[in-house]
Structures are given as structure tokens and as C-alpha cells.
Amino acid sequence: MSLRPDLAVIAANVAPGSRVLDVGCGDGALMAALRDRSGVDARGLELDAGNVAECVARGLSVMQGDADADLADYPDAAFDYAILSQTLQTTKRPDRVLDELLRIGRKAFVSFPNFAHWRVRLSLLWGGRMPVTRLLPVAWYATENIHHVTIDDFRALLAERGVGIEQAWFLTGDKRTSAAAANFRAEHAVFLLSR
């Protein structure tokens, strides 16, 4: 089973045998891959009960909960990595969630769709309408993405919060794109962060 491109990047860069919290773990695909390939002790947090049931059925340890409200229940530095994939833009307070990730994990992986990708820009520029693209497939009124973010916005938030970037990957579909002009050319991004 192949992982979503951002998850494949994360899976390839998590140290074997480490402890991981996957926040918004969905059906547990990444956790299962980390466990099976790298012997990672993975735990998850997921809002949707059906997804949690799916994870438990895969033998994964997943708490039903919400990134905005429930990260506070985890002790400091309990994990080597906290992972937040394609979820940052759905949280009520992405800045606080980011702080929590780096409190709970020594490092954090964060992936998100880039709202400054040229297709999105074109759509807004020429269409004057909220973009509906491959990575942002849902109309504005129904989308779970309540805090759209661009790669440059995210970098600015990191700088403001004093968060260090250990590594960053930029992708279009499942293909890597260069860091140059990533804010224009990348559909989505993965950051490895630390304090």
C-alpha cells in the first residue's frame, strides 16, 4: 500500500525505533507503515470515531480527540516526534497547536497544502473565486480548511515563534520540487521542526 506523498516523506525520515505521536492520524496508514517498516512506537490522536475504530482494528493505539483541545493532556517531551499532516490548516489555533507539538515532541513534522501555489493564485487572480484544486478539493463553505496558509506564512510563523527548521521538502503531487520559489511552485510542503 502506498502512502500519501507527504506521509511517504515523513515515513522515510522518522528514525527507526523512535516514539511518535501522529496528530490527526486518520485511518492510521502512516502509523502502520512506521510500525511495520521502522519498528516505531506510534500513537495517534484522531477526531473521527470511524477512523479511530479503523486504527484499533489495525492494532494501533489511538485516542479519539482534537488537536486544538486534547494535546494539553500529553506530558512534555513524551515523544521523539509529533506529526501533524495536512491538519494544521483545519485547527482553530494553528499557532498554539504548533507550540503543543514542540512541547510534546522533541521534533515535529508538519505538512500542509500551500495556498500560494500558482494554480491557487491563478484561480483567485483570474477567476476571482476561492480555488478548488487537487489538494483543496472542497468548496469554501464546506471545507475543513479554516486557516489557509502559504509556505511563506508558515516560515514567518516559525521565525516569530523561534522554531528551527531542520529540513523541508516541497512537493507537487508526488514529485519533489526545489526549494527555490517553493512558495510559488510547491503544491504542498513538509517541514521537520525543532526548538
Binding site: V52, A53, C55, V56, A57, G59, V62, Q64, G65
Partner: protein, 373 residues
């Protein structure tokens, strides 16, 4: 559906050692009646200990000898079912204090007369101690999993906390780590209903040699009626009964069971008295009220799980107001704090607390998945 598992076996044994109790007393010659389903593997590593709820018993997947009804979890246990007896050896024992073959208030004391109220007050941990002694007698060092719903879930938690080396996993459904004031309140209503029945007679209503004579059936029925309400959801009651009348066109302006819900509760209460001993009901509800797992471990629930190496799965139901989801989450947070692998999920089901006994396909998936590891 009701077909019996050909591998079901009814068994009973007497504990060789006295059972030391939390009260400081001890019970000697404790008899444990239990059912098993599926074969025990040669290495004895495939055993699942299933704990029953307050009014449950060991007949989890075999027909009840008194009512003839299928076991209370027949839908869950059997070949190819979520608790797969092709793979697992399932043990379900009647709790100490119960009335289906294990030593309880109706059992004869040393003088040959029923214990009645001379039976010592027991705790959830005492019930678990008895079952651990049963495992010792069966030569089972470590369970594949301890499983239970409601009071059964309390016992599964207690086993994982107090006998950490005895299980690799605990599956705790619709349960709590302590009884709330509201939980205690409902139980007290039930106990007072029993004790207010003149036929209770200070607990001394057994015939000679423990043969059941007519005890406080009216009181026990009322206790069951009150408790039964707490097992159902308001929406479930409304859907099932609404304000519909029972076999009549209009209200009678009397106190007969005009409404279907009244008739249903009366039936639940009366049929319960055919299979349950009133004194057992007093003792078991007391044990549940005394249950506070954190209190047993210095007040911090996470300390209760400090020594555990088990995996945990906590399941709650969105319509269960007896042990609502925050109770499960409270346990899950304590387990997280102690570093144990824990899953916690609230399933959607319309049946209230009783959802764990009823047809909730998502529960089947969670149980099968959690146990297959």
C-alpha cells in the same frame, strides 16, 4: 443465533487457599463457577478472561440454565466472531458474591446455613483476586486479554492495575475508574427498595440449605426497574415506547400499567427476580460503589497503572449517561501519562449504556481488531 458452541464447557472449582478480602476478612472454600469457550492452547497463551456485568453471569455464550436465553454476549463470542473461539480460549466466571454458582450470600457458611448478611462486604478488587486465583488453579500465567463491559470493565481495569503481570491487554467497554455520586445514588435507591420489602427480613429469607424461598421479590423488581432506566438512553426509550399505551385505547385513570414503558419495566423487574438473588444485588452494587481505582493507589489514577505493560482499549458510547465518555477519557489520560499504549474511542449507538450488549457493528470491529494483535 442461539446455537450452542460445541466447545462450551461448564466447570466449577473450589479455591484451595482462603480468599483475603479488602475488608480484612477472608473467605474460605470459595467456589468459582465458570464457562469456557474454545480450546486452551498447549502453551496456555491464548486465554481471554471475560468479566461479566452487575446482573450478568458466566453464561456469556451458552444458554442461560434458568431462562434458556442465549448467552449475553453470544453475538460476540464464537467461531469466526469478534472474540474468535477458533483462536482464543475464553473464560467467563461468575463473580464472588454472585448467585449463579460462585460463592455468594446464598451459599452455606461454615455452620451450613446461608451466609445471608453475614457474607463479608466485597470489592471489585476482591472479585478480581478470586479470578486470579482461578487462573492460578488453571495454570494460566498471563492472559492474552482481560475483557469486560460495565462492571466487567471495572474488573478488567482492576486486574491490569493490581495484577499487571497477568495480562497483555485490557479491553474496557462502557466502564469507569470510579463510581460517581450519581452512580451511587441510583444503586442506593435499588438497595433501599430491597431492604424496604418486608420479605427481605434483614437478609434472612432463604429456605433451608439455601433453597430459594420467596424473598424480597417486589423490592428486587423495583431495584431492577430503577437500574434498567439507567441502562437505556432517553432517545432510545422515546423511540421504543414514546407515550404509547399498553394494549388499550385510552388511559384508565388508575394505576395499572397504562403506558408501554411501565409494562416493559414491570416485566423487566419481575423476570429479573426469577434469576437473581436480592442479597447478591446488595453486595455487588456495594462493591461497585466502593470502586475507586485511583483511591486504591494513593489518589492518582496514573499511579494505578505504573507497573503495567499491557495494551489498553477503552470504548464508550455517545448515548451512555451511566458511564459517559469523559469517564473513559479520564482513564485514557491516566494511561497516557503512565506511557501505556492506549486507544480510546466513543462509538455512536442509540441504546445507551446497554449498547455494549447490543448490535453495534463498530464495536465488533474494534474488539476483533484489538484482540487480533
Amino acid at each position: 443465533m442461539a446455537e450452542a458452541d460445541p466447545l462450551a464447557r461448564s466447570r466449577s472449582l473450589t479455591l484451595a487457599e482462603p480468599l483475603a478480602l479488602d475488608s480484612g476478612q477472608a473467605l474460605t472454600g470459595v467456589e468459582i463457577a465458570f464457562e469456557t469457550y474454545g480450546e486452551l492452547a498447549a502453551d496456555k497463551a491464548n486465554a481471554i478472561l471475560l468479566f461479566h456485568a452487575l446482573t450478568g453471569d458466566q453464561y456469556a455464550a451458552s444458554p442461560h440454565p434458568k431462562t434458556g436465553k442465549p448467552g449475553w454476549w453470544a453475538r460476540m463470542i464464537g467461531p469466526g466472531k469478534p472474540i474468535d473461539t477458533n483462536r482464543f480460549h475464553v473464560i467467563c466466571a461468575n463473580i464472588v458474591g454472585g448467585c449463579m454458582g460462585s460463592t455468594g450470600p446464598a451459599s452455606p457458611a461454615a455452620d451450613g446455613q446461608p451466609y445471608a448478611m453475614r457474607f463479608p462486604v466485597i470489592t471489585i478488587r476482591d472479585m478480581v483476586r478470586a479470578q486470579v486465583a482461578l487462573l492460578d488453579a488453571l495454570g494460566i500465567a498471563r492472559l492474552h486479554a482481560a475483557v469486560g463491559g460495565s462492571m466487567g470493565g471495572m474488573q478488567a481495569l482492576s486486574l491490569a492495575a493490581n495484577f499487571a503481570e497477568r495480562t497483555s491487554a485490557a479491553l474496557v467497554i462502557a466502564a469507569t475508574a470510579r463510581h460517581s455520586a450519581q452512580n451511587i445514588a441510583f444503586h442506593e435507591v435499588g438497595r433501599q427498595a430491597i431492604m424496604a420489602d418486608p420479605k427481605w427480613n434483614g437478609g434472612d429469607y432463604y429456605g433451608p440449605c439455601g433453597q430459594t424461598s420467596k424473598g424480597p421479590e417486589a423490592g428486587l423488581a423495583v431495584a431492577r426497574m430503577a437500574a434498567h432506566i439507567t441502562y437505556l438512553s432517553e432517545a432510545g426509550l422515546t423511540e421504543k415506547f414514546g407515550r404509547r399505551l399498553q394494549d388499550r385505547e385510552s388511559k384508565t385513570f388508575g394505576f395499572d400499567a397504562d403506558f408501554q414503558i411501565e409494562s416493559y419495566l414491570r416485566h423487566q423487574g419481575l423476570s429479573f427476580t426469577d434469576r437473581f438473588d436480592a442479597n447478591s444485588y446488595l453486595y455487588i452494587t456495594r462493591a461497585m460503589d466502593y470502586f475507586d481505582l485511583a483511591e486504591e493507589h494513593g489518589g492518582r489514577l496514573s499511579d494505578a497503572f505504573a507497573g503495567t505493560g499491557a495494551r489498553f482499549c477503552l470504548v464508550s458510547f455517545d448515548t451512555d449517561w451511566l458511564y459517559p465518555t469523559p469517564e473513559s477519557r479520564h482513564i485514557a489520560h491516566a494511561l497516557n501519562a503512565s506511557g501505556a499504549p492506549v486507544s480510546c474511542v466513543e462509538l455512536s449507538a442509540p441504546y445507551g449504556h446497554d449498547s455494549f450488549l447490543l448490535d453495534v457493528p463498530a464495536l465488533d470491529r474494534v474488539i476483533a481488531g484489538f484482540l487480533q494483535q
